[in-house]
């Protein structure tokens, strides 16, 4: 490993959460729907049907581009990408080739391993395309067959492509997490990896360290091969796939071979990659301008308007939390990790100001981070009550309290069940119930101890 430098680039597909599909009026929220119920002549690719682009989706794609510090060209267009596959009803995918909506961006990450040092990953392009249908291999009436569900066909898909600036699998994972976070903050996609709304494709090759000096001279000395691993659906799998590929390439190079340029798949059960398509079998997509859609011309004014729709992003929010609330960088970064958690934190803080209580933001952060306050069951208001109660001294008779706790346990079998099945946050709800019954007189941490003992 020490003799080699990994060269890693990423391609990420994000399904947008627009109401309708990319080129027709069908409902884009197909997840869990009965097969082929979200379809029309356009997304079925029926003879004569024509695409009309979804303005919202284009706007959201540009929003992603702006959030990734990209240039937004005023002239853009759609192209046809030609290839045959049964899940592609037109025999071509409408995508963007040489004039994408966003180019030349960058995203700064703070890889954990690098301490205070940051790392800039350049973004090559962000473009808009349509998703394909889904093939389902099944047995019907005892016969093996493949079924096609076109519900996903034509759902807006944004593709984000980085330059090959990433050097370790950890950096790749950090980058992907950060990107995921930004997409969630932008509110343009649920970016749910399990549902396939965000799909990852790392490109990997490795280079001998002796060549490192040449690196400064530019990209011409990128390795002569590149391996692409397709359709990975978790950050950890992406990391594992990259690690697997790096070892595989080193082994080949050490034995005097050059790894083959190819596309590989990820087998999540065996934790290995496997060959799917070699360079010789690579497609010539024969891109050409989509004649059914006139070129897209954006005005500076529109660009400005779209820029204004971008909410506060994770980096800015972290800084603000540090500055305004006196949080540590560590606490701030944990709070902003999830958009909803950071908003829960701020709403809780508003409760203090309203109640004029002596609770510091640091204490609230601590309750959310360390005590794992469950934001789905405990409202910000209740959280503040809990904290307040905790800060007060116990004024309750132990037997009374015991009785109340037992009653609460009896009355809330669902929360008890949740807790017992490992959902620790459920205890917060039970504590809240006890606090309510005792009108805040009990000591929350004492209640917690009693509860955990009783629920063992």
């Amino acid at each position: 490993m020490n003799n080699y430098t990994p060269i890693i680039g990423l391609e990420i597909h994000v399904e947008l959460a627009t109401k309708s599909k990319m080129f027709c009026g069908c409902d884009a929220n197909y997840f869990g729907g009965k097969p082929n119920t979200h379809t029309c002549p356009v997304c079925l690719g029926l003879p004569g049907a024509l695409p009309v682009p979804n303005k919202k989706a284009i706007e959201w794609c540009i929003r992603i581009g702006l959030a990734l510090n990209c240039e937004i060209p005023l002239h853009s267009k759609f192209d046809r990408k030609n290839y045959f596959y049964p899940d592609l009803p037109k025999g071509y995918q409408i995508s963007q080739y040489d004039k994408p909506f966003a180019v030349n961006g960058r995203l700064v990450i703070k890889p954990f391993a690098r301490g205070p040092l940051t790392k800039t990953v350049r973004i090559r392009r962000v473009h808009m395309e349509e998703d394909t249908g889904k093939l389902i291999h099944a047995t019907v009436d005892g016969e093996k067959c493949t079924l096609i569900d076109f519900n996903r066909s034509g759902v807006p898909l944004v593709e984000i492509v980085t330059e090959p600036d990433i050097r370790t699998s950890e950096e790749a994972r950090d980058f992907l997490k950060k990107l995921h976070q930004i997409i969630r903050y932008l509110g343009v996609s649920d970016a749910d990896m399990e549902k396939g709304s965000m799909r990852l494709e790392p490109n990997i090759s490795i280079r001998r360290k002796s060549e490192k000096e040449k690196e400064r001279k530019g990209e011409e000395n990128l390795p002569k091969y590149k391996v692409e691993v397709k359709n990975i659906n978790s950050f950890n799998f992406a990391k594992k796939a990259i690690d697997y590929e790096i070892s595989r390439h080193i082994e080949l190079l050490d034995s005097g071979e050059t790894p083959k340029q190819e596309t590989r798949g990820w087998d999540e059960k065996k934790n290995i990659t496997y060959s799917q398509r070699s360079k010789e079998e690579a497609h010539d997509y024969r891109y050409f301008p989509e004649p059914d859609i006139p070129p897209i011309v954006l005005s500076e004014k529109e660009k400005k308007r779209i820029r204004e729709t971008i909410p506060e992003l994770p980096d800015a929010r972290t800084e603000r939390f540090i500055k305004d609330y006196g949080l540590s960088e560590y606490d701030a970064s944990i709070l902003i990790d999830d958009k909803d958690t950071s908003e829960y934190f701020e709403k809780s803080i508003q409760q203090i100001t309203n109640n004029k209580q002596q609770i510091t933001p640091k204490v609230i952060a601590n309750w959310i981070i360390n005590k794992k306050a469950d934001k789905s069951t405990v409202s910000p208001e209740e959280l503040i009550k809990l904290i307040t109660a905790k800060q007060q001294k116990p004024q309750m008779d132990a037997t009374d309290l015991d009785l109340i706790i037992k009653k609460v346990i009896e009355a809330n079998p669902k929360a008890v069940g949740n807790y017992k099945s490992g959902k620790e946050g459920a205890i917060m709800y039970l504590i809240g119930q006890v606090m309510r019954k005792t009108k805040g007189k009990a000591n929350a941490s004492q209640v917690r101890n009693l509860l955990t003992n009783l629920l063992k």
Partner: protein, 469 residues
């Protein structure tokens, strides 16, 4: 009077004045279609039962005061225009049993206007050709001479109009597919500006060129029919929101002081007898007050290469969806011409060839657009022969893979530039009609209709009928 001979104008008037009913006309048309279509073979699908039902409904509605002008007017549609529930094949075996689930925008507009659809007309398969000889089913014959071709690809539509098997028809043109068969069958064919009429639901051929339009017995009929099918369509992003002109009001305003361009580059391509007829027509138009201005245009033969590359490239993608998985027929059902076009288009778009072929063709397309723009600063419209010669004998297309492109050379430049053009009769060679075309700037349909009308009304060519009927 034989009701099948009615024009759209006469039909609308007669229905309004209750001289006859829609059922009367529809019946008399089917009475004629029955024996004659056996000879001409213009229809792929005849929908008599449903058409008569619709005609009855139209008559009922009219009795109740429904005054929509096109209510109960019979039309035929080219078989690449999707009609919900009515087989639509594009004369291709691959779609032999395809019944669309939805109406093309223009089918819907015609139905909404009350038009009675008699059936679907034959064409070159997928609209690839200028003869109907490449139809996967059969060749349509020219009503003026059954040993001659009707032209194509809208040959079936042109033949139904010429032989009085319909009151009017809708064809589609990519380059010549309305004007060339209209010329060879001696009917009026209007190819509107690209984007004036929706392509939604029309089986795509060359998507950046396809333009549906009316094929009729008279110029006035074309002016009446165009607004029924034209206009912005939310389902076709390439349609224009420019407002429609009032074609009828403009129609009769004459050509006084209009500057009509004539180009030697076009004239010299036509056979002498065609050229003479066009020159005579120009004299008539001059007498009506127009000013004839000789202009220089790019040699139309450049357009053959440009058109061939762009259209084949688009075809290669547009036919990809017929991959054998759906529509019930496999790819082995593609005919020779379709296969040739798919291969040529695939080649033109392939890595290493794109710049020299597709890329270059796009650049020349821009030059052709500029060439017309420049000329239209000096003149109002251009007059030229529609086709180099009159209808050719059956079998003529079989020996030449570029038959269509050569026959369509005089309409290709304007189609590449997205311009409107109209063709009408300007003489005969024996029994065979000669066509003259008027080309105008984008969205100048009102102007070219006016010029065509002035010429038509001052000549008798349109009064002649083929002997067969």
């Amino acid at each position: 009077m034989d009701l099948s001979e009615l024009t759209v104008t006469e039909t609308i008037k007669g229905l309004y004045q209750k001289k006859f009913s829609s059922v009367d006309i529809t019946r008399s048309l089917f009475e004629k279609i029955k024996p004659l279509d056996k000879k001409i073979k213009a229809f792929v699908t005849i929908d008599s039962e449903n058409a008569l039902k619709k005609a009855e409904e139209a008559d009922e509605k009219r009795k109740k005061g429904d005054a929509r002008p096109f209510l109960g007017v019979p039309f035929t549609l080219k078989d690449n225009i999707c009609t919900q529930g009515l087989r639509t094949t594009a004369s291709a075996k691959v779609l032999e049993n395809y019944i669309p689930q939805y109406d093309a925008t223009i089918s819907k507009k015609l139905k909404d206007a009350g038009v009675v659809i008699l059936g679907k007309t034959n064409m070159d398969a997928w609209a690839h050709g200028s003869s109907t000889e490449t139809s996967d089913f059969f060749t349509t014959l020219n009503p003026w001479d059954l040993e001659k071709l009707p032209g194509g690809s809208s040959g079936g539509s042109a033949a139904t109009v010429a032989a009085d098997l319909t009151i009017g028809s809708i064809g589609t043109e990519t380059a010549g597919s309305i004007r060339q068969p209209a010329s060879w069958c001696g009917v009026v064919g209007l190819k509107p500006t690209y984007g004036r009429v929706s392509r939604y639901g029309i089986i795509s051929m060359g998507s950046s060129l396809d333009s549906p339009g009316p094929m009729t017995k008279t110029v006035e009929d074309a002016a009446l029919t165009l607004p029924v099918i034209a206009g912005k369509d939310p389902q076709d992003a390439t349609t224009s929101s420019i407002k429609l002109d009032d074609y009828l009001v403009n129609l009769k305003k004459g050509v006084k002081n209009l500057k009509v361009g004539i180009s030697e580059e076009y004239q010299k391509i036509a056979e002498p007898i065609v050229r003479e007829a066009v020159e005579k027509a120009l004299k008539t138009i001059e007498k009506l007050g127009a000013i004839i201005v000789p202009v220089k245009l790019l040699d139309p033969t450049y357009s053959i290469s440009v058109y061939t590359i762009l259209q084949r490239a688009e075809v290669s993608a547009n036919l990809a969806r017929y991959d054998g998985i759906r529509y019930g027929e496999g790819r082995e059902k593609f005919g020779e011409e379709a296969k040739r076009r798919i291969m040529l288009g695939t080649y033109a778009l392939s890595a290493g060839y794109y710049d020299a072929l597709y890329g270059k063709a796009q650049q020349i397309r821009t030059l052709i657009v500029e060439d017309f723009k420049k000329v239209f600063q000096k003149i109002d419209c251009i007059i030229a022969p529609t086709t180099p010669c009159v209808a050719l004998p059956l079998g003529s297309s079989k020996t030449s893979p570029m038959f269509g492109e050569v026959q369509d050379v005089l309409v290709e430049p304007s189609t590449i530039a997205g311009l409107p053009g109209i063709t009408l009769r300007c003489g005969f060679v024996g029994e065979l009609p000669i066509g003259i075309q008027i080309i105008g700037p984008q969205f100048s349909e009102a102007l070219i209709l006016k010029v065509a009308y002035a010429y038509e009304q001052n000549t008798d060519w349109h009064k002649r009928k083929p002997n067969i009927i």
